[in-house]
Symmetry: C2
Subunit: 226 residues, 2 copies
């Protein structure tokens, strides 16, 4: 199935497997079965095997998958082995928090610039990353060939900032503002929607509290990717 | 279907409909069809109707759904009409950014406390919300009956902080640290996984850049909830 288009949900799970395999590798684990991998992530082993077959990777009978090799194959297919530049629009707590988080945790994504409208912030640097005015966006983004951006501005500034990003050449936006951006269909937007995540959690807490099941609330933890 | 268990993905979509209906209400729209609602969110109208049938809500022929009434029904079913207390563990940029974002954007979730280990931060307040030492967690969380928490601490502190939250009585955690928490099955964890979101976006950008399709890259924007 190597050249088949991979559905979005499969891409999400493949990236999840790669991360989990990274942990196993750090722990010195050499091989893993689809069942062990699935159990760690709350995903059925049949689905794990189906997902991995997109890569042309098949387990070895009695051995399973070689951890390091499988991780490498997934990361290569996902493009996670290439370094990528990223800009963050909004240098408030949320933007800076994401930037710092990524400096520490993200392997191939490197934050190269913040953008903000606040004259007090413009011209400063945070952990070596400069904060530019919004007017410099086209120059920096186009000049560095940046395609990915994180949008961490207030709701009422988000649409306009997103349009500026797109005009500068950005093709993928991770949006933290709780609004649906109206952008050309060539641009991909992912929504980091904290409000919705909390509402979803709250619903299940509520339901469990009201449950009359004799076992009380016993719910499996699941990754949010469903 | 009113008493049927609602699957997680349906809950996510229902919360999404409620938000969209809120926008429509603000805009003065009185009625909406399943097609119009679906089009705004990239969800098929058949799926919209199926989801709404969990509420026992059916559209009216030639009219569709009454915006305000439908939003109210969903929010009631989702428990989004009740105020809820929330604590944030980690008063770094990310934690404070989330707190400020929620002060502004979240209707029924109210941040009541931050927790941190930094003696410089402990005892301060941010927009009226106090920062407590970790040792106070049980007292505050149990005392106020808080069930929801956001975890915004570095990766190596996340598991321990999560355990403290659970011991204090928290049952739902929105985790920003990129690790899989090991907690009792009675606790629900949602992963706000920025790294994975970016890797997913990056994969699709890569694929589109390599696409040989004559139309170039034309991809529909989708909500991340898939």
């Amino acid at each position: 199935m190597k050249n088949k288009e991979i559905p979005e949900l499969v891409v999400r799970r493949l990236n999840l497997y790669a991360r989990c395999l990274g942990y196993l590798e750090e722990m010195g684990v050499l091989t893993v079965s689809s069942k062990e991998l699935g159990d760690r992530l709350g995903i059925a082993d049949t689905l794990v095997r189906k997902d991995l077959s997109y890569l042309g990777e098949f387990g070895h009978r009695g051995v399973g998958y070689y951890v390091s090799q499988l991780r490498h194959s997934i990361r290569k297919m996902m493009g996670a082995d290439k370094p990528r530049a990223l800009v963050i629009v909004g240098a408030g707590n949320l933007g800076l928090g994401i930037g710092k988080y990524h400096q520490h945790f993200l392997d191939n994504h490197r934050v190269v610039a913040y953008f903000d409208t606040d004259p007090e912030k413009i011209g400063q640097s945070v952990e070596g990353i400069p904060i530019y005015p919004m007017e410099k966006m086209e120059e920096i983004v186009a000049g560095m060939g940046v395609e990915l951006a994180v949008l961490a501005v207030p709701k009422d500034q988000a649409q306009r900032a997103a349009e500026k990003l797109v005009l500068a050449g950005v093709r993928g936006i991770l949006n933290f503002a709780p609004i649906a951006l109206q952008l050309p269909p060539t641009v991909r937007v992912a929504y980091a929607d904290l409000t919705l995540e909390l509402q979803n959690l709250a619903y299940f807490l509520e339901k469990e509290a009201n449950s009359t099941s004799p076992a009380g609330f016993v719910i499996s933890r699941r990754r949010k990717e469903g």
